[in-house]
Amino acid sequence: MAARETNPNFMNGVPELLILRLLQQEEMYGYEIVHAIRSRTEAVVAVGEGVVYPVLHGLERDGALRSRRKNVNGRSRIYYSVTAAGSRRLADLSEAWSNLAAAIQKMLKGGRHGEAIQ
């Protein structure tokens, strides 16, 4: 298969957060999830599209997601949705990322080190 440039390692954890956020609103299958991520992040978040599946399977195994097979337009799809544990995990992740993003933003705007790291 051909190679494709994707985001580097600092993207670790981002797909998980975005997936949980998306699936909290409605159940989706993999292709829909990737499309939604691309459109809602205006293509800033770029991952190999197939890479979403190990994340989905991992979250399902951890109990954060549940899946069910559904026939749509003659094709069998696996739809994912968030569980109660997944909602709690999303809340924790969202808080952690918001704090991190705020801290980095402060750093980039020239704030003092002590203010940025809380």
């Binding site: 298969m1 051909a2 993999g30 292709y31 190999g48 599209e49 399977h57």
Partner: protein
């Protein structure tokens, strides 16, 4: 499965990812690829160009395999603890099979041959022949069947030969040295008992016979694995 995923499947299996997780991953990737291909065709690309573009968007084999391999929870038990899966599990299975075989022998003795000193006597009753035959079949076939199981699991998961070979040799040795004894105390009405032990035999001749028996079991058990390995170069998608 679509041809583009053959290399990915081999890489995942060799990295120890459990076959069921590989199967599900590849099935979802194949669905995703079909969606991407359709999307590219709707955008006006030719089928060949749409296929290429869809594969690029899906991700390279390196990325796709790394994403799955990094999730250690998808590793099979054969990859995590091969010593348990190939060293211990076959022994427990064999012990279970021998227990059932001995139970059949003991219960058959009690039901069909209540007055005899031993269950190892000529039997004429049709159902008794069948009943004891099941136990005998289980006793003799268990090492080979378990060996086939080891070979099947090793082949499915593309495992290196070391641990499966250890398992096969252990099963063959136990299969060749297992001996069943049955005796009844010389007291009227006493219940006979059946026991098992592992021994190569009292003489050098018996020992060499036992080793030959082990070699036969090993050969029979390893045969499907050898056939599979010989056939692989002819079918690259296997």
């Amino acid at each position: 499965m679509a041809k583009p995923f053959n290399e990915l499947r081999e890489r995942l299996l060799r990295a120890g990812v459990a076959p069921r997780h590989v199967r599900r991953y590849l099935a979802e990737l194949a669905d995703h690829l079909a969606d991407l291909r359709a999307e590219e065709e709707r955008a006006g690309r030719s089928p060949a160009d749409a296929e290429s573009a869809a594969l690029v968007r899906l991700g390279g084999t390196d990325d796709l395999s790394r994403a799955m391999i990094e999730q250690r929870q998808f590793q099979s038990w054969c990859a995590r603890a091969p010593w348990a899966m190939f060293g211990l599990a076959p022994l427990f299975l064999l012990a279970g099979a021998y227990f059932v075989a001995c139970l059949i022998l003991w219960s058959g003795w009690k039901i069909f041959l209540p007055g005899t000193e031993s269950p190892f006597v000529p039997i004429l009753d049709g159902f008794a022949i069948f009943y004891f035959g099941v136990g005998r079949m289980l006793y003799f076939a268990a090492p080979v069947l378990i060996g086939w199981g080891i070979a099947l699991v090793a082949a499915r998961q593309r495992l290196s030969a070391f641990w499966p070979t250890v398992g096969l040799v252990l099963v063959a040795l136990i299969g060749a040295t297992a001996q069943v004894h049955a005796s009844r105390p010389a007291v009227p009405g006493a219940v006979g008992h059946v026991s098992m032990d592992l021994a190569l035999g009292p003489s050098a001749q018996a020992a060499s016979h036992g080793l030959l028996h082990a070699l036969v079991i090993l050969s029979l058990a390893a045969l499907p694995c050898l056939v599979w390995r010989l056939q692989r170069p002819r079918s690259p998608s296997a």
